[in-house]
């Protein structure tokens, strides 16, 4: 009987090096971008959606819970920041942190939703987010939240610093996903996604693990909401509690490929460019393309862009270089539907 040979640590470090380069690369690229192009609101939107797409990646890509109500955390983050500024007079960075904290508090309250499965969870999370929105926007609470009249954060206005914080958060969100790709914890989450019963019988603490993933995803959305609030300065409840926030984040993540490190970034950037070209002037055509993409992806390419590389690797006789690319991308096998035919070939 062969012995168990390897210690884990060298392998882990190696993986970090292989998968971790985007943690540095993309923030740097985004900082460069700001000097090339100065409609900061557009760039910040991209930054925000990259963070949100990675958040969706964590809870959906790794754990299998589809958070239609993800915008609830984004809105909670924006309002957390606004309340902190208006009542505690904190500075921008603390306001962003406050946004993250409020989102996490909301996520803790909503942990019982994780007991629901499939469609129930998706729709219940949406209902929860809408409920939060209606509380924040309610005219009866206007004395606290300013209700539907919106909030104003001019006091802390500092777009350059806000953008920098956003860019750092992109790095952090990528780092979290890289961690999930290489760590035992990430493996546990993927096991839950595959089959929660088997996972628990293999020793995975299912309620704890999925709750942690949920809180991580919520924290990222809350921080992103805080940065958005900071740079936007004036916003209404419906600006931040918009189902479009969830839609964009989910589609960006799906398009690139959930469960991978680069998928949501690639998907987010590519679709954001598309949005810039046609989305602002004629959003209905953009929505049509979005809807079409969702249908196409779920039916024919459930692994997203990232799985194209994987399929390519399987089709073409393997050479070392190609393998290296796909591993460097941090891509794992495509999800069930589309990849099946490719899988049946013997390896």
């Amino acid at each position: 009987m062969p012995k168990l040979a390897f210690g884990g640590s060298t392998g882990q470090t190696g993986k970090w090096v292989k998968l971790g380069w985007p943690v540095i690369f993309f923030p740097v690229a985004l900082m460069v971008a700001m000097h090339v192009y100065n409609n900061q609101l557009l760039l910040l939107d991209l930054v925000v959606y990259l963070i949100l797409a990675q958040g969706v990646n964590i809870i959906y890509g790794f754990t299998g819970y589809l958070p239609f109500g993800y915008f609830g955390f984004f809105g909670a983050g924006a309002y957390g920041a606004a309340l902190a500024v208006n009542y505690l007079s904190v500075d921008g960075i603390l306001a962003v942190v406050a946004g993250g904290i409020l989102a996490v508090v909301l996520a803790v309250i909503l942990i019982p939703l994780l007991r629901l499965s499939g469609a129930y969870f998706g729709l219940a999370s949406l209902a929860a987010a809408e409920s939060v929105y209606l509380v924040v926007a309610n005219p009866s609470l206007a004395s606290i939240t300013k209700g539907p009249y919106g909030v104003n954060l001019e006091a802390i206005f500092n777009p350059n610093l806000a953008y920098l914080v956003g860019v750092i958060l992109v790095g952090i969100s990528i780092a979290v996903v890289v961690y999930l790709r290489v760590s035992h914890f990430g493996l546990s989450l993927r096991a839950i996604k595959s089959d929660p019963v088997t996972a628990s019988l293999a020793g995975v603490n299912v309620p704890a693990a999925r709750s942690i993933a949920w809180l991580l995803a919520a924290a990222l959305a809350g921080l992103a909401g805080g940065v958005f609030a900071w740079i936007t300065s004036v916003f209404y409840p419906e600006t931040v509690f918009s189902i479009n926030v969830s839609v964009f984040a989910i589609v960006f993540a799906l398009f690139g490929g959930v469960g991978s490190v680069l998928g949501p970034i690639l998907g987010g950037t590519a679709l954001y460019i598309l949005y810039e070209f046609i989305g602002i002037s004629s959003p209905q055509y953009f929505q049509l393309i979005y809807g079409g993409l969702i249908v196409f992806l779920t039916l024919f390419l459930p692994g997203g862009l990232a799985s194209l590389v994987e399929i390519f690797r399987r089709r073409v006789p393997r050479s070392r270089a190609e393998m290296d690319v796909s591993q460097g991308l941090g891509i794992h096998a495509p999800l069930a539907v589309g990849g099946r035919s490719a899988d049946s070939s013997d390896e």
Binding site: R115, A124, L126, L254, Y285, L293, T298, A336
Partner: protein, 289 residues
């Protein structure tokens, strides 16, 4: 008070009508058609066009819409479900998929009709009617006159027709139904068609009951319909009526006595039911681990 009760019952029946097709699909195919509300909106636009362009009664859109809606539903089924059922987590994947369908319909509606609110005069069916000592909008009577027969037809389809018996067999256990010689695919496709017909048929009423429709109305309607069927228990079409009535009454009373919170009613009810009694009226396992 009496007004609130009448209003609640009528809106309840209307939402039961909207939810009936959604629940049928969930029962048969175990998937949530997130585009359901958008199909209702399509029906609404059909009625609007019929009324404005042809100058005829908008409710004639109901019979006009039946065949195209059925064809659309069957087409949607064959275009998506067979491939979808190969996915690992069919339920969640279907949610994403039909969300995409929903966006396509919404975008097409915006392109065709713009994203303005369209409405028809509430006096289309004549002036207000005096009933039970209350002055009620005439379209409420039309709503009752269409909803009640529609729900009866729905019941007859399920419980008094051959298709219905087979459909219920598939709901209980599609594998066993298949082994006893039922063509599950065909039954499912027909159920999809029927569900779509009911969605589209409820659209003309939505035009009046909601005070107008826009392409964005769809997703709200889907959520409300989902709330109604969750209350009545998913996959149990008869429970939908009970769920609808309960929902309508709660909504009506909140509107009357706590109006600023009325919009939150569907969401809070849905959460309460899912977390406290997730099975609705009939017991069914919806929880993980």
């Amino acid at each position: 008070m009496i007004y609130a009760i009448i209003s609640g019952l009528l809106f309840g029946l209307f939402f039961a009508f909207v939810g009936a097709g959604l629940n049928l699909l969930f029962g048969v195919l175990k998937l949530v058609n997130l585009a359901h509300g958008d199909l209702v909106v399509v029906g609404g636009y059909l009625a609007y066009e019929v009324s404005v362009k042809l100058g005829i009664n908008p409710m004639l859109a109901v019979p006009l819409g039946v065949i195209p809606a059925f064809v659309l539903g069957v087409g949607l089924y064959y275009g998506t479900v067979p491939r979808l059922s190969r996915a690992e987590d069919t339920e969640t994947t279907s949610l994403v998929l039909f969300f995409g369908v929903s966006m396509i319909i919404e975008a097409l509606a915006t392109i065709l009709f713009g994203n303005n609110l369209v409405s028809l005069s509430p006096l289309t069916f004549g002036p207000a009617v005096q009933l039970f000592g209350q002055s009620l909008p005439s379209y409420w009577l039309v709503a009752g006159g269409i909803t009640i027969p529609a729900l009866v037809i729905f019941y007859l389809y399920l419980y008094r027709s051959q298709f219905g018996t087979a459909t219920r067999a598939v709901m209980v256990n599609s594998d066993e139904a298949a082994t006893s010689g039922i063509n599950v695919r065909r039954i499912s496709a027909i159920a999809f068609g029927v569900g779509t017909v009911f969605a589209v048929a409820s659209g003309p009423l939505a035009l009046f009951m909601l005070g107008g429709i826009s392409p964005g109305t769809g997703i709200d309607l889907t959520l409300t319909a989902f709330t109604v069927i969750v209350i009545g228990s998913l996959g149990n079409p008869v429970g939908t009526v009970i769920g609808g009535l309960l929902y309508g009454l709660v909504l009506s009373f909140v509107q009357t006595y706590l109006s600023s919170w009325a919009a939150a009613v569907p969401y809070v009810l849905m959460l309460a039911v899912l977390l406290i009694k997730p099975s609705g009226i009939l017991g069914k396992r919806v929880r993980n681990a």
